[in-house]
Structures are given as C-alpha cells and as structure tokens.
C-alpha cells in the first residue's frame, strides 16, 4: 500500500485538521502536512470516516492556509526506528533527531502504541535498586521494573533528586548499569540543559537516549513523546537485555496538552476540564514499565509530576497515584527548612517494597525498621502539631522525646547531601541510631531479635 495525498483540508483548529474526500484511511495512521510555505508538519488520524478524516497535528494548526495545504497519509502508524545507535542521541517527541546528527537508519521500526502487555507474561518485580537516598531505600524502596513517580511542585528540587537517582541507582550485588531514557515534555531550556550536563559530567551520556520537547515546542507533540520514548526503552530492555531507567518530566505538561486537544475535539470533560479518559491514557504510558517472563531486561519508570498549586488531589497527581506503584512526595515545608531531599515520608509509598527488601534482598530487619520508623514519625508529627498549639513546654517528657526524634529524623535520615550515596546498610544504621533514642518497650514494630542485634540505646 502506498501513501495518498490530498489537498482537501476543510478546517483547522486547536491542533486538529479535518480532511474531506480521503477514502479508506486507517485509524491511527501517520500523516504529513505540507503548508503553503512548504513547511512540513506531522500528524495522526484520530477519527477516520468514509469521507472525512480528523487529523491531530503535532506541531499545531496555527496559520495553516487550507487552500494550499497538502495532506499526505503515509499508510503506516506512528513509528520509531530502533537500533543500538539510539543511545547517546537526542530526539524530539516524534523520534526525529534533535542533535543535528542524521536519523537512525534501521530496518527495525515499531509502532509507538504498543499493545498491552499480557498480565500472564509479566513477572513480579522484586530486585531492590539502591538509589543511595535513605528516604527511598530505607522506607520506600524502588525495585527493578517499578513505576514510582516523584510528586513535586514548582520550585522544589525534583530535578536534582531525579538526577541523583540516575547517578546513583544500582543493584546491590551486581555491577550492572542502567541505561537511561530521558523524556522531557514542556520543560524549560535550562532544565533540559541541567540534565544534559548531569549526564555528561557523570560520564553516562553515551548510555542515555534523550527525547526532548521544550516549553516553547509544540504542545501536541508531547502526546506522542512518552510513547516514542517508551518504545525506545522497551527495545533497550527486551531486545537488548538492558535494565532501563526511564525518567519522564513533567507529566503535568503532558496531561495539559491532552486536555487542550480533548477540549478542541469537544470531548466530555470529567474533572477540572480533563477528559474522562485521562486515567486510561496515563495508564497506557505508566503500565509499559515492568518485568517480563524470560527476559533479562526491565523498564523502571520514574515520572516527575508537579502538583498544580501543591494539591495532591489535583487530577494529574491523583490519577497518577491510582496507577503507579507508589509515589515519592516532596514537601515545601521541609524544603523551606533547608532539608534536601525534602521527601515527606507520610504520603510517600512504595507498594513493591514488600517483596524487594528483607533477608534475601537487603537485611532481615529492614521491613520492620521501616514500619517502626513510620509509626514513630506519625506519632512524632502529631506531637509536633500538638506542641504548635499548646507549646512544647506543656508536653510530657515522653512527648518531648518524640519531638526531638522528629527533628533528628528530618535532619539526619531525610536530610543528606546531593552527592551522598548511602548504602542500604548505612541507611539502616542511621535508622537504628534514631530508634535507639527510645526505650526498648516503645519499639513494638521491630522484633526482639532485631533489638538484641541492632539496638544501642541507653533506655530499658
């Protein structure tokens, strides 16, 4: 089958182009548009009728002159050319080179909208990844094949944390490196630059594939970008047997682009103007991470989601949380107190931690230490709250101990250097120093054996 070309564009609005008289065009097909100034744009068929076709134009539909625009239907889906050469390269949201170098030449091209992974083909992710960050490793561990977003907000150091994770992530007993897929949607030039310099200075640039759509690049392209990037990630993981860490930033920009197009299409909005299918759309992206039976590689996904007005119940973080396997939540309060990384552990969670830590993976006391720290911190935060109402002087001695614990915990466990790469044992040691502030009887989540082995407090 071959490409067909038409000059019958009937309307162009909000990134959508209607073409009349095009017959037998397949749903989802790739489209090239040449406007009156001979500039090329790209698109995809999102509604295919007998004689009217609706095309989503990735570069937008601004100043398209309908009369003199050529629309070419390529008779193929949106695809990405794949070869090991993609490492070390920079592409745009459609997988076209953005680094001034020639396109990837390969006979292997894959449609970017992969079919859903058969659940029966998956294996459960359970290999602990040491990120060197205590709040993650100790309390919300990341495992290979997990999708674990960073929930952040404007002005918080999510980029620095993401970069630190990329720099430090490793498996405990394996000298294997992650290949990195970096997907940037609507980020500022300086943020993109920050990551590029990070990758360069840590010497991993040759092991990174970047997909970049800047804040002033066409928003509609952001809809294709994560799918293109994940197609590359899956290729690296499941064809080339690599462990791939995908960092996506910022999913909020992605969802906003989706809303823009949905509104133009006249889709029924659900919450805050976002279309009802935002959940399914995000799930199509996030669920592409994982491990697959009999495959060596894996796709681990760390998306950055900024919470509009710091609101975790906003549809974008909310729906993300409903899909991903936990979340690392950054706090403006900790940040204001100068604590880096400002991870607020209470709303943070890793659902896959349960099978990735403990005796065979990290250390036998790890899951119980985590539960104990959480229990104490929850109580400590209540106490801190109480102290702010009635004054610390009114607290009992027992309560004051919790208050000190909260401060020490924030300072020593949460806080660490941006270059500080703590081993899991170091993280657990800090944890036991903090636990040892309490009498043994207050530690009911750890076992008596744990206490005998690791407790070194003075209390009875």
């Amino acid at each position: 089958m071959s490409a067909k070309e038409y000059r019958t564009a009937a309307s162009a609005q909000g990134g959508l182009l209607t073409v009349r008289g095009a017959h037998g065009i397949a749903f989802g097909d790739r489209v090239q548009i040449r406007d009156h100034r001979n500039r090329q744009r790209n698109g995809q068929v999102i509604r295919a009728g007998v004689d009217e076709v609706l095309v989503q134009v990735f570069e937008g539909t601004e100043d398209i002159d309908l009369e003199s625009t050529w629309v070419r239907f390529l008779d193929q889906p949106l695809e990405m050319a794949l070869s090991p050469e993609i490492l070390g390269r920079i592409f745009n949201g459609l997988g076209e080179p953005k680094d001034g170098r020639p396109p990837i030449v390969s006979s292997l091209r894959r449609s970017v909208s992969a079919g859903a992974i058969n659940p029966a083909a998956r294996t459960y992710p359970r290999e602990f990844i040491q990120t060197g960050v205590s709040t993650i490793d100790g309390l919300n561990s990341l495992v290979r094949g997990q999708k674990l977003p960073i929930f952040s907000a404007s002005g918080l150091p999510h980029n620095r944390l993401a970069a630190q994770i990329v720099r430090q992530a490793k498996l405990v007993d394996e000298e294997s490196h992650f290949s990195i897929v970096f997907a940037a949607m609507g980020v500022s030039y300086s943020d993109a630059q920050f990551f590029q310099e990070e990758f360069a200075s840590s010497g991993v640039l040759g092991n990174v594939t970047m997909f970049v759509n800047l804040a002033d690049d066409p928003p509609v392209e952001r809809l294709a970008l994560p799918r293109v990037a994940l197609t590359a990630a899956e290729y690296l993981a499941f064809d080339l047997d690599r462990h791939v860490l995908v960092v996506m930033t910022d999913m909020t920009n992605y969802a906003e682009a989706l809303r823009e197009v949905a509104t133009a299409k006249g889709d029924v909005p659900a919450r805050k103007g976002y279309p009802g299918y935002l959940y399914s759309d995000l799930a199509e992206i996030y669920e592409r991470s994982g491990r697959i039976k009999d495959r060596h590689g894996s796709v681990t996904l760390v998306p950055v989601v900024s919470m509009p007005s710091d609101d975790i119940t906003h549809p974008i973080p909310d729906l993300t949380g409903y899909i991903t396997e936990g979340q690392i939540v950054l706090s403006r309060d900790l940040h204001a107190r100068g604590i880096y990384p400002p991870v607020h552990i209470s709303p943070s969670l890793s659902r896959l931690m349960k099978d990735g830590v403990g005796k065979d993976f990290t250390r036998e006391d790890h899951p119980r230490v985590a539960a104990q720290l959480y229990a104490l911190y929850a109580r400590a935060l209540e106490t801190r709250n109480l102290a702010s109402i009635i004054g610390a002087d009114e607290l009992s001695e027992r309560d004051r101990r919790y208050l000190t614990f909260a401060d020490e915990f924030d300072r020593r466990f949460v806080g660490q250097g941006e270059d500080e790469d703590r081993s899991i044992v170091e993280t657990l040691n800090v944890a036991w120093e903090l636990l040892s502030m309490f009498p043994k009887d207050a530690l009911t989540r750890v076992s008596e054996t744990d206490i005998a082995k690791y407790y070194h407090g003075g209390g009875a």
């Binding site: 037998g24 065009i25 397949a26 749903f27 989802g28 097909d29 999102i46 509604r47 295919a48 009728g49 007998v50 889906p77 909208s113 992969a114 079919g115 859903a116 992974i117 058969n118 659940p119 029966a120 083909a121 998956r122 294996t123 459960y124 889709d267 659900a270 009802g276 299918y277 399914s280 799930a283 199509e284 669920e287 592409r288 994982g290 697959i292 495959r295 119940t313 549809p315 909310d318 409903y322 899909i323 979340q327 209470s346 709303p347 659902r351 349960k354 899951p367 539960a371 959480y374 929850a378 109580r379 109480l386 109402i389 009635i390 009114e394 607290l395 309560d399 009887d441 207050a442 009911t444």
Partner: protein, 600 residues
C-alpha cells in the same frame, strides 16, 4: 453457531467506537470488526446503522472494511477448566494466549475460553434415571476439577426435558456430548461438560434466602467490627494507596468462601501477577489445599482497552453465579468498580449522551444497583444452597467520598469498609476508619459468634467501639488545652484506646503470623486487651497512679501478642489472660500495702 452471519461495512472509526452500516443487528450483539476481526459489541442502533464498541484497539482499521454480526450477545463458557485460570475482560484465556503469542495480546484472536483438548474424568450423577424429566440447573454429574473443588456439571438453566442419554463414567473433552435431553416440543439437545451464558443476564435460581452466616476473612477489623455475611454486598472505598487492593487480596486469600473470583478491572498488571505468583504457594487455612485451586482471575488492566473493562465485571459475576449454582459460597472481588464506571462514562460520552454528574450518565446508579443485585444467598435450581458475596473497591477522585460512584454505591451495599488517607499515612493498616465504616449485619453476625465463639462477642465489640469514640473525644480536648487537663481515668482511656488500635485493629498483611486470625484468636485478643483496660480502670479508680500502669512491660507485650501467637496457639493466648490477672492483682496488693504503710 448456526445463526446466519450478517456482513456490513465500517462507516467511521472514532477510537473504540465504530459506526457500521449493517441492518438487522441487535443491541448487545457480538461483532467482528474489520479484516483483522476485532471483537466488539453493538451498543446503539440507528436505522440501518449501528454503533459498535470494540474490545480491542482499532488502530489500522479503515472505513469500508467488513463487519460481521455474530447473532449472540457476549457470553461466557462455563465448565471445567475455569479454576486456577486467568482470563481477560471478555474471557479470553491469557495464559494460553501468552504461550501461543508472546508478551502482548494480539488483536482479533479467535480462541475458545476453555481448553478443548483437555479431557476430564466425569462421574455421572447416580440419582438420575433415563426417561425422567430434569430441569435446568440440575446436576448431571461431577468432575474433580482441582483437589479442592468438585465441579458440578449443570444442565443449562433454560433447558429442561426428558433425559434420554447420560454418558458413563469416563474421560471426556468439552466438545464430547455427555448426555441428551428431549424438550417437550420433541427437540433433542446434546449436553456437554460446559454451557454458555450471556453475561448481562443474571442466572436464574429457585428463590432468595436470607444471608445468615458471616464470611470469615481472618481480618479483625472486618470480621469483628464490620462483618459481611455470605451473600452480602460490600464496598471498599479509599484514596490511592490506602489499601483497597490489599483488603481485597486478603479476603481472596483468607476468607472461608469455597470459590474466589478476583476481577482486576482497570487496575495494575503487577497486582494480578502478585496473585498468580503467590497463590499457588499459599495454602487455604480451611482445606489445606493450594489457594489457586479455588481461585479464578479476570484481568482487564488499566492499559487494556476500556470497553472490555466495562464487560469484565459482568463476566466475573456470571462466573460467580455459575459456581453458586453448583451450591458453593463464592466471593467476587471487583477492583475497582470506579474504573468500570469510568468506562461506562467514556462510552456514554462518545455516544453523545447527556452527562448528569461529573460526566457520568444518568443510568450510573441503576447500573451499579443492578450489578450488586446479583449478590445473594439462594436456593439453586438444583435445590442446593449457594451464595455470591460481592466486594467492590471504589476509587474516588481525590479521595472525596461525596463523588457519584462512592455515594451511589453507599446506598446499595450493606457493609462499608471506608479507608482513610490519614490512617494510611500513619501506617495504621488496614487503614479502615472505624468512625465512617458500617455494617448492617452486626446482629446476624452476633448470633453466629455467640453460637460458635463466645456469647460476649457483641458486648465486647460495642465496648471497644465505645472506647474508640471516647478516644476521639479526648484527643480533641488534648488538642485544645493540652494533656494536663485530663484526669487519670481519662489518660488511662487514651492508653487503652491506643492498645486497641495497635493490638487489635492494626493487622499487617505482610506479617507471616498476623496476616490471618481465626475468629477464636480475634475474640481472645479483643478480650485480653479489654481486660487490661477494665482492670487498669479499676486500679486508677482506687488511686493507683496512671504513670505506673502506662509503664508496665505487660502493655508492650500485649501489643505484640498478635504477631507472636498464631491462630493455633490459643492456649498461649489464654495463658496471657492469667498473667494479666496476676499482674493487676499484684499491683492492687502492693498498692494496698503501700497505703497501709502510709497510713501508719
């Protein structure tokens, strides 16, 4: 199928919604779309046109391609081979598809739900005599499907007549006839080990019975505080990460149902893998058999096509009713009904239907009610007793329980296990909030507990809830005026409430010992902790300083009891009761001596 296949043409493709020109289709009819043969279903008729929703991605399909109407609605295959399997939202066998087609699910597959090659050892029902009239739903014989479950082969519910042939014991494949039946109009029907049933039609039964017996789940906050009866309906609402899936998986693991149907409806792939990988290793505490032998999974994960998600809960509940009709107690878990409702909304939106609240169509509430109505304890057509308990997770946007799906569901169900973000953030698991949860089954459950465990159950339960309510009240006072304002008795109440929370309510699904607690253990733990509370309160009353009680090592031990002693170590728990009594008697005595001393 003998019905004539109708063929038409595609007019338009709009995501999963396809307009076709084909007269004579019926609403709900199954179709095959395009050259590739995607499976779909008719959802609206408009003269010679029909709107069809595809259960698979329509990428690459073109207007002008053919569409075939199959003449029947979405139906499931019911027979041996269901248990231990994983199906997608329209009952395609995912493990088979994986072994035939690899990592992702190819489109347009035509593959039977149940394995046709496998032969099953069939034992005919001795009680049946040839020539007698048998009714739909009668038991023709049995197949020992798994070690745990005897599969009872049923006459299709709507068929009845004279039994003219019944195969002898032997090995049969699903397509081998195992009997014949002549209907009153003289037609002869072959009977097989399996039959089909349309998923959107509830299966018939003789009559509904009252639910009487609690579904024991081994989870204290559920069984002891907010019980569900076999045949009841429950909802588990909660924000993301609060523990809906864990609650449902715990019920799937530890409940005393005969059959468990777990429907992953628009949720994570890895959660189903978790069940698939762990259940074969776990043992059913009641039968000792492997848990997978009584379990069946329906998986339409969040990244799978939305339309099949809408179908998946009907597939699940039809499978549940089928096992009920064999005389089993079935529990079906749907995670999450919100994703099902969203699928409904998405389709309604594409049809241009008028949205009423948050984009949902007006019929949301009635569809939800109709779904839950399929729960119940019944006398089956074969005069056996069976039940379907339905437990649906609800995922309210932003954790807001006033949204449409949660609020409508709340009107329908009898048991409400409300998860709270605050409790989950504090790692109080299960994060079921005792103030907003409820059960309409407490008095029925109380009869069972009184007969089987202890007559004091209802009173103890009430006492614990009262203590928790006092705790909330006192916490408010502390937050206003500080802890110094509390009396000694009130401080002891706070301490005791903390004990109830930690020692009874909190129960880690991840703790090897505490993950399951027998009713006996549940009652004992509650009794022990309330005894500490009462004895302590007595001492505080006579003037023993509360600090002395709060510092007792006994309290730390009481907090750990749940994970130290398993359900089989009842005598150790009973021995602890003696220790409590001895310890408090000792303090009373010491205090009396001390006072005597002070007096002299």
């Amino acid at each position: 199928m003998s019905e004539k296949v109708k063929v038409g043409r595609i007019q338009e493709i709009n995501g999963p919604i396809v307009t076709v020109e084909l007269a004579g289709l019926r609403n709900g009819e199954q179709v095959r779309i395009g050259e590739i043969g995607l499976v779909g279903e008719v959802i609206a008729l408009d003269g010679p046109r029909a709107l069809v929703q595809a259960y698979e991605s329509t990428e690459g399909v073109r207007p002008g391609e053919p569409v075939r109407g199959l003449g029947h609605p979405l139906a499931v295959e019911l027979g041996p081979g269901l248990l231990g399997s994983i199906f997608d939202g329209v009952q395609r066998p995912l493990a088979t598809i994986f072994s035939q087609s690899g990592d992702s699910i190819p489109r347009g597959l035509d593959i039977p739900s149940l394995d046709r090659g496998k032969r099953w050892a069939f034992t005919p029902n001795d009680a049946l005599e040839l020539g007698t009239t048998i009714a739909g739903g009668s038991i023709l014989g049995t197949v020992q499907e798994t070690g745990a479950i005897e599969h009872r082969i049923l006459v299709p519910p709507l068929l009845s007549g004279e039994l003219t042939e019944l195969a002898p014991a032997g090995e049969y494949a699903l397509d081998d006839a195992i009997g014949r039946l002549r209907t009153p109009d003289g037609q002869t029907h072959k009977l097989f080990l399996y039959h089909r049933w349309p998923v959107r039609t509830a299966r018939p039964y003789l009559r509904r019975d009252h639910a009487v017996e609690p579904l024991i789940t081994g989870q204290r906050i559920l069984d002891t505080f907010f019980p569900l009866l076999k045949g009841g309906k429950a909802a588990v609402p909660g924000p993301f990460g609060a523990g809906k899936t864990v609650v449902q998986q715990q019920v799937a693991r530890w409940s005393n149902a005969d059959i468990v149907i777990y429907v992953g409806c628009g949720e994570r792939g890895n959660e189903l893998v978790d069940v698939l990988e762990t259940f074969p290793e776990l043992h059913d505490p009641y039968t000792g058999r492997r848990m997978m032998e009584r379990t069946l999974l329906v998986a339409n994960t969040s990244n799978m096509p939305v339309v099949a998600r809408e179908a998946s809960i009907y597939v699940g509940v039809t499978l549940a009713e089928y096992f009920r009709d064999q005389g089993y107690d079935v529990v079906m878990l749907a995670d999450s009904t919100s994703r099902w409702a969203e699928a409904l909304r998405e389709v309604a939106g594409r049809l241009g239907e008028m949205p009423v609240e948050e984009g949902y169509p007006a019929y949301l509430a009635s569809r939800l009610a109709a779904f839950y109505e399929r729960a119940g304890r019944v006398k089956t057509l074969a005069e056996k007793t069976g039940s379907v308990s339905l437990i649906g997770a609800v995922s309210p946007p932003g954790g807001d329980f006033s949204e449409p799906v949660t609020s409508h569901t709340k009107e329908i169900i009898q048991t409400f296990w409300a998860l709270s973000k605050e409790l989950a953030d504090a790692r109080h698991y299960p994060a079921i909030d005792w103030t907003s949860s409820f059960s309409a089954h407490v008095s029925s459950a109380a009869r069972w507990w009184a007969e089987n465990i202890d007559p004091a159950w209802e009173a103890k339960r009430a006492e614990a809830l009262k203590l928790l309510a006092r705790d909330a009240e006192l916490a408010r006072i502390v937050n206003l005026v500080g802890p110094e304002a509390l009396s000694s008795a009130q401080r002891w109440e706070l301490e005791a409430a903390a004990l109830v929370k930690e020692g009874v309510l909190q129960q880690s699904a991840l703790d090897a010992v505490d993950t399951f607690a027998s009713p006996q253990k549940q009652f004992l733990l509650l009794d022990l902790i309330l005894t500490i509370y009462e004895k302590g309160a007595d001492l505080v009353q006579i003037g023993v300083p509360v600090q002395e009680l709060v510092g007792l090592p006994l309290l730390a031990r009481a907090r750990r009891l749940k994970q130290v002693y398993g359900s089989e170590q009842i005598t150790d728990l009973q021995a602890f009761m003696d220790e409590i009594r001895a310890e408090f008697d000792r303090i009373r005595l010491e205090y009396a001596k001390f006072q005597e001393h002070a007096a002299t």
